[in-house]
Amino acid sequence: MNFIRNTAMALVAATALATPVVASELQLGWYVDSDEQEQKLRTLLAEYTKLHPETTFDLQITPYDGMSEKFRQYAASGIMPDVSLTSSMEPVVRPFLVDWAKVNGKDWIDQFVKGWADGARLGDQVIAAPLDVTAVGIFYNVDAFNKAGIPLPQAGASWDDVLPVLKQVSEKSGIRFPLVWDVSAHRYLTYQFQYGNHIYSEDAPVKVAMDDANWVKVLKQFVKITEDYMPPGLWSGSSSDKPYDMFLNQQAVAYMSGSWQIGSFNDSATFKWQAGPTPKGTVSSSNVGGNYLVAFNTSKHLDEAEAFVTWITSPDVQAEYARTFGLLPANKLAPAVAYSSPDASAAVKGFQQDLENSPRYAATDQAWPEMQAGVWDAVKASVTSVVSGQMTPEDAVASVHKAAEAAIAASH
């Protein structure tokens, strides 16, 4: 009787607790955008296992939006995977992150795209390994231009030059809207960058560096663009128009988005498209983004975890990773990538150039951890409130300023 009960309890305990531990099975937290991505990832991981048979992987897929909650759970419960993909490092989880400067030396981080690499620094430490970078930029529907008989914009053209052209193309080719723009703070901020505005100082100590008057001027310009060239109400904050789908369905001549779209346009676009050249304001600027890999120092397989991350961020593997997923490699030393189509290769090259040519503040703004503390939402809300008539541009910019200050205050 007792024996049966004990066995039963043991079985229950065994199934209730974590899955059985195999020699060095690394738990990876990851988010993907599609099934194909997941398959490609698994193939890549299998490749690593071939090279290092003692390391296998347990891939835990989470929706992107749930990642920050997961990180909070890790910090609160002490239960965390070995490695995770992430786009930012929550303050509460930072004590648990492996310091790559200790693992690979303090110069290791310098081989990565500077803007994104800076975001991985925390004082003297390097708490994340850059995996891939993305750049903000514009896409054009080449077929529409050809149909309208108008040549595509050239490098160095400004918004004032390009916008009326887009309107002409849309009228002549019968495409509904000249321009669609991702409704995101990140993409809007790029526009501000192009007129010399940025939020935080470029150097430590971090300070709010906003020229409010210039911000207001540029915000008003942007709002006018949404009224004159974009689908009505796109930036009202509640529009259900989807810029990505609209561009893909040929309802827009141009689409302000970023390099991560290259892969899906390659697969799904039924028309000829081109990435960039992105119009400029007073300066030419893109905006960096991307992904990091973090390893947790609570891992029971720390050596294997560190080895894996070092492998996947090494130049050759970076090239393969970038080609597989249609992304830009984070490692500057990665050999030139031959993407699946000449369009894609040209697009990637263009974006990489854009990143290189962006002003320094385009990279530093994001690298400051304070940006994560509510500033993005304030930026987006500032535009949607003005577009929907709930706030004056002056008040909107003031609210961004306030949020930026509050973020600094909260962490000091």
């Binding site: 303050p91 904050g237 509640s238 809300a381 949607t384 929907s388």
Partner: protein, 314 residues
């Protein structure tokens, strides 16, 4: 053996057993409630208590000893006092109250109408009932998605239909008042089937002979409705009303996929404000907990009031 004899036998023979049975009967309700209360306590009430405790501090969501900024700072009732000067909170609270005042009676009326329409047990009605119940089978997120498509300004079915009649596109989701109306519509639509089923279950508990008697007396349908149906339907109506108020005050999922709180911030209701305070502003989890505390008090008071009203009349 008659019932009376039986009872005497029980009372006399084995008073220990009799006492135990009496004790069993007295503790029986507690026993019945134990599983529910135990589970609720573990997974909901205990965390909620911790949440209320959180409202007395200035802190973030997670406390990690190695991160000094995350250590909570006791502030007593400061968070609560701060609330009433907080414009975002007050606006979202008032907006939510307005929503509840409009949407819950509307939903009750709709559910009642549907229940009366579809209560008779015919196969045809069963089919229609299934159709009406459909929205209750899908999550709030999908309901919002469906109505976002219907109401979309540039590619929505409603505006397309209007354009065929020559009416220009209405910015349903992009104008403050229209967006609120859209949310009411979507919310009422989403809950109609659920509440209809509750009312139908209640309708069928009304004895048929009452209606027969009324028909024989020649009572008008309206009087039958107000004098017989409504009073006897009261327990079910109370369910719809109480659950409706509880649900409407916490409306969130539908709003997220329908308007994301827009245009601008015109449709940010109480729960969205709470989440934004907790997740988007640094170190304001205590404030968010205080907002939740206020919500809790409001709902508790309203629920007690609604149940009291019933008890007095019953």
């Amino acid at each position: 053996m008659s019932g009376g004899d039986r009872m005497q036998l029980n009372a006399r023979g084995g008073s220990a057993a009799g006492l135990m049975r009496l004790a069993g009967r007295t503790s029986w309700p507690y026993f019945l409630l134990l599983p529910t209360v135990a589970l609720l306590f573990a997974f909901t009430l205990y965390p909620l208590l911790q949440g209320l405790w959180m409202s007395l501090f200035r802190r973030g969501l997670v406390v990690v000893p190695q991160v000094p900024e995350s250590i909570p700072v006791f502030v007593g009732f400061d968070n609560y006092l701060q609330l009433f000067a907080d414009k975002d909170f007050v606006v979202s609270l008032l907006r939510t109250v307005l929503f509840v005042a409009v949407a819950v009676p509307l939903q009750l009326a709709a559910a009642l109408g549907l229940a009366l329409l579809l209560a008779p047990q015919t196969r045809f009605n069963a089919v229609i009932r299934t159709i009406v119940f459909f929205p209750s089978m899908i999550s709030g997120l999908i309901i919002g998605v469906i109505w976002a498509w219907l109401f979309a300004r540039n590619s929505g079915l409603v505006n397309y239909g209007l354009s065929l009649l020559g009416i220009p596109a209405v910015p349903w989701l992009e104008q403050d008042q229209l967006a609120q109306i859209a949310i009411v519509v979507a919310w009422v639509w989403g809950g109609a089937g659920f509440n209809m089923m509750i009312l139908i279950a209640g309708l069928t508990a009304i004895p048929k002979d009452l209606y027969e008697a009324a028909a024989i007396d020649g009572t008008s349908p309206w009087r039958t409705f107000t004098r017989i149906t409504l009073p006897l339907l009261e327990p079910s109506i109370v369910v719809v009303a109480v659950l409706g108020v509880l649900g409407a005050f916490q409306v969130y999922e539908i709003v997220v996929s329908l308007t994301t709180g827009g245009p601008g911030r015109a449709t940010v209701f109480l729960v969205q404000n709470i989440y934004e305070t907790a997740f988007k502003k640094p170190n304001q989890a205590g404030l968010a907990a205080a907002q939740s505390g206020v919500l809790f008090v409001i709902l508790m008071v309203l629920t007690i009031l609604q149940l009291r009203v019933v008890r007095r009349r019953g």
